[in-house]
Symmetry: C2
């Protein structure tokens, strides 16, 4: 038994001992902003992974959809998320279910970092980004257009 790794202590500012902090690189037309990822659990036997994503104030995740399901718990801060054609405010410990093929995006709109846990199947399909046509359709809802404009 690899004793030390069974307990990984929380560190200040939502980091963890023995967990790599992976900021996404923003290059060219990157569809995300100021977001980082930490993989907290990826045990093969679990079949699922638990990741922690965090956006700096004003940051946002990729607007995407996919077959696989996301189970999200907000851990830090307040912000908004797009769920299909609805925009919802989220705060600490709120639970968000993202069903298959539902457009979604998180935005740190509260002037503070927004961090959340995301449980996901270890075997999953690649996310799709919206086409120009799909983006136009999404923006037909004024609330969604305002959300996407930031």
């Amino acid at each position: 038994m690899d004793e030390p790794s069974l307990l990984r202590e929380s560190r200040p500012d939502y980091r963890w001992a023995g967990v790599s902090h992976m900021p996404y690189k923003e290059e060219g037309s990157a569809p995300f902003k100021a977001i980082s990822r930490q993989v907290l659990f990826a045990e093969e036997k679990l079949g699922c992974e638990l990741r922690y994503f965090e956006m700096a104030a004003g940051g946002y995740s990729t607007l995407e959809r996919h077959e696989h399901v996301h189970a999200v718990m907000i851990l830090r801060g307040r912000g908004h998320c797009l769920l299909g054609d609805a925009v919802r405010e989220v705060g600490p410990h709120d639970l968000v279910t993202i069903p298959s093929w539902t457009w979604h995006q998180f935005r740190a709109t509260g002037g503070e970092p927004l961090g959340f846990l995301c449980m996901v199947n270890a075997e999953r399909d690649r996310p799709q980004l919206p086409s120009g046509q799909e983006l136009t359709e999404l923006k037909a809802v004024p609330e969604v257009a305002a959300f996407l404009a930031g």
Copy 2:
């Protein structure tokens, strides 16, 4: 899309809208004390479940082991956990991995509630409780004996 259930808001005292709070009944020789369970996510497509367990001050979970793996994040309070033959102190956001067939128990030793998230495969075996002989073996480690004595 069942819109309202996609976002389930956090309520005071680590409860959630639309999530049943299930206190375990303590009867006779119940091997746990003052613990409750809330199932936060059990989407069939995920293959995993996310539960929130909470013990009142002085409470403890069942001492058990099983084939399936637990991935735990402490959400609330400080306490101790038994992991095999080691006793570890835990606090908010610490990550605990419980491998197959590892004896484990959580105890709210900090004079406050201890709450944690537990990610687990949806298909899993039933936990085993220790036999008298196994309990004697566990208590051969003085630190473990002290932990189990409360």
